[in-house]
Amino acid sequence: MDFTNILNEHSDRDRLGETEPPTPWQSILIGNTTGSAARVPLEAPTLKSLKVTETEGAVKAGIKTASGPETAVEPKRNFEVWRLPNSWNLHVVCLALITLALVLWGLALPGIDTRQISDYGLILNLPPTFFAALVLLTFSFCLIVRQSEARSVKILLLLHLVALIFILHDTTALIYDTPRYSWTYKHIGVTSYIQSNGVVNPVIDIYHNWPGFFSLSAFFTQLADYQTALSFVAWSQVFFNLLYLGPLLVIFNTLSGTWRLRWLSAWFFYITSWPGQDYFSPQAIAYFLHLTFLAILLTYFQVKKLPSLETVKRYLPFKPVVAFYYRLTNTGRTRADETGQQNFRPFQWIGLKLILILLFGCIVAIHQLTPFITLASVTILVVFQGCRFRTLPIIMGAIMTGWVFYAAAPYINNNGVIFKHHFLSLFANLESNSVNISNATPGHAFISIIARGLTVSLVGLAILGGLRRVRKGYRDVRVALLAFAPIPMFFLQDYGGEMIYRVYLFALPWLAFFAASLFFPAPTSRVSWKTWLFSTLAGLVLLAGFVTVYYGNERMNNFSEAELNAARFLYQTAPAGSFLMKINQNIPNKFTADYNQFVEYGLMAEDNIQTYRDKPAPSVDQLIDLMRQKDYPAAYFVFSRSQDEYTALANLAPPEWTAQVEDAVRSSTQFSLIYNNSDVQIFKLLNSETSRPAIARKGVSNR
């Protein structure tokens, strides 16, 4: 065997930068680009693209053809082409840049003051070295993407993404003493409950009706020999974002054979994923399973043979509909789509199918919303001939309805009205998802505007990228359909005002792919200065927006050690069945194994029987009446810094509102201050052990 020829062949491939050795590990890590099913599936449909493919073949064979940028085996050394003399120099430079970026980030961490966070979030507290680290990393990443050799830079690209994830998501874990977000603590509580009791109790709350994530967390907490998940949840964001990387790279690999496009898509995904759903939560792990599910589906279950026009006519009425469907499903195809399927053995196919069904079963048991979006995505793929596992949507539908109507029946039977809220009311749901910034604080309004700007920018880049792909001859119909798949969720309900974030999150991989397509729409052996400059600038602008928005609400999202200690004191000393009143629920709460033993009440929570949201401050008598509605063994009122921050940022009440309530409680002889530290004051209602039926359920009307 002539090894020289083989080496030369590889050398040519690498020079083109589009091919990789088809080892199984690399297929998983980076993706297989050499003719397997993972390769080309969703691109290159037209005559133009076929010409490109042929030309590439000629290039690989060492034949110089007449035209097109892809035809050059050796890039011309003109003013448009910029190439370092030795690629290894570039590797060393990039490794040095990553190291420097990490060092700068490490130096920045001690300088971040977490006690003085303004309405603008953490961004004003971040030292210049933090931003310098991100700029260096972006510059270094784009420098590598400009490199023409694919094979030798994969590890470097991966290192960049991992470094980016650590810098963006590990910063808060390292600078705060406690985990972010009040919901994190509730999730810790459910985990602790399962850890202590060994079972779930579906009558407690919604979490016990979708307990997959909590059971798994309890299992791992036990396995790691931790007493509570509180010990490690601060690292969840790093953990989940690292998890997403695998399925994301596989998905992008199935969408394009262009390595630059794949890696830049992943980069864009991470610098635009601002909704912050990656904390210790069911949706975080459900999102990972959703991505894995789609990665398997897109890689292995492409349609081998499209239905003929005659077959389409049999199933669809009206000629225009038939013509539209036929054109839509027949664009974006190559010959590889029909012949490039893996030659698996029957048991391997059975295994893959069962894995898909099992994955969806896990998603269903973990989260309420994700299965709907997964089902919508798969249905779209099946309807438009993007998936040959055609009974899958029916199986998924049956599993989903089985869980919702029977496994989660204890919750649905008592709270079905929640699902009824705004059902099929598109405009009402859109309205409740839009934040009114007219009354927000200047900083909060600024953050909201940047979030909208970031989203619009990404969508704009995606549209331009999609158009550029079309101009290059690609028809990514299925990618576009997958980007649209989550949008019908707006018809279901508003999801507590969060639906818009979820829809954005589930559309993000596809939007990121299109946005990256703007810079690298097709395989090419060289990258011009212009492309390099604009991709770097776009990366920096999006990253600046991400840092602004992602850390934008830190004033209310982070809790001090003092607040956590106060909450610990409260749960340890309050007798079971106590009534715990607060201004709102933005405080570490419900994180103990016996969290269901307490009645938690926020004055401004909308689901309370008596909410004071947007109303005058209640008098002390009204508060006492609320706290003595039932024969609680004890009643407490908790004031804290983070509650005040939430009230101010969410503009629930004027700043003096909370102060009035606190003053009223402090000056009342009915309350006694039992705990006081820099951030929290806990008052206990005196004589609350003795019931006072004469005044119960009276006098709770507004002033």
Binding site: F347, I350, A398, T401, K420
Partner: protein
């Protein structure tokens, strides 16, 4: 060539399998759908899905998964089982659809507080 082979050889005149007309296919479909609809009505009138819904869903999932598994395997027995499953799945689908509609209506008619 054996008789069995002849009967499936489309090259021989008169031996190709008879393709059902649209009318026949419609009748066949109705015959499969009808039992499902009748059973759905009976279940709804007698027990309002309190127990049958779970049986229908589990039955449908098992039938569909089994069909997908068998679709990857060859052999005459598998083909026979697949035929039985195909005949079973359609009535189960009808039952499931009725159940889902019933449950959704139940949720939508919950009185507001």
């Amino acid at each position: 060539m054996t008789d069995a082979a002849k009967s499936k050889d489309p090259a021989l005149p008169g031996t190709a399998p008879v393709r059902p007309t649209r009318f026949r296919a419609g009748v066949k479909l109705s015959l499969l759908v009808l039992p499902g609809a009748v059973v759905a009505a009976v279940i709804f009138l007698t027990s309002s899905w309190s127990w049958a819904g779970q049986v229908v869903i589990v039955g449908l999932i098992v039938a569909l998964v089994l069909k997908e598994v068998l679709a990857e395997l060859e052999g005459p027995t598998n083909r026979q089982v697949r035929k039985v499953l195909n005949a079973l799945i359609l009535p189960l689908l009808v039952l499931w659809a009725c159940e889902v509609v019933n449950k959704i209506i139940n949720i939508l008619t919950i009185p507001d507080f």
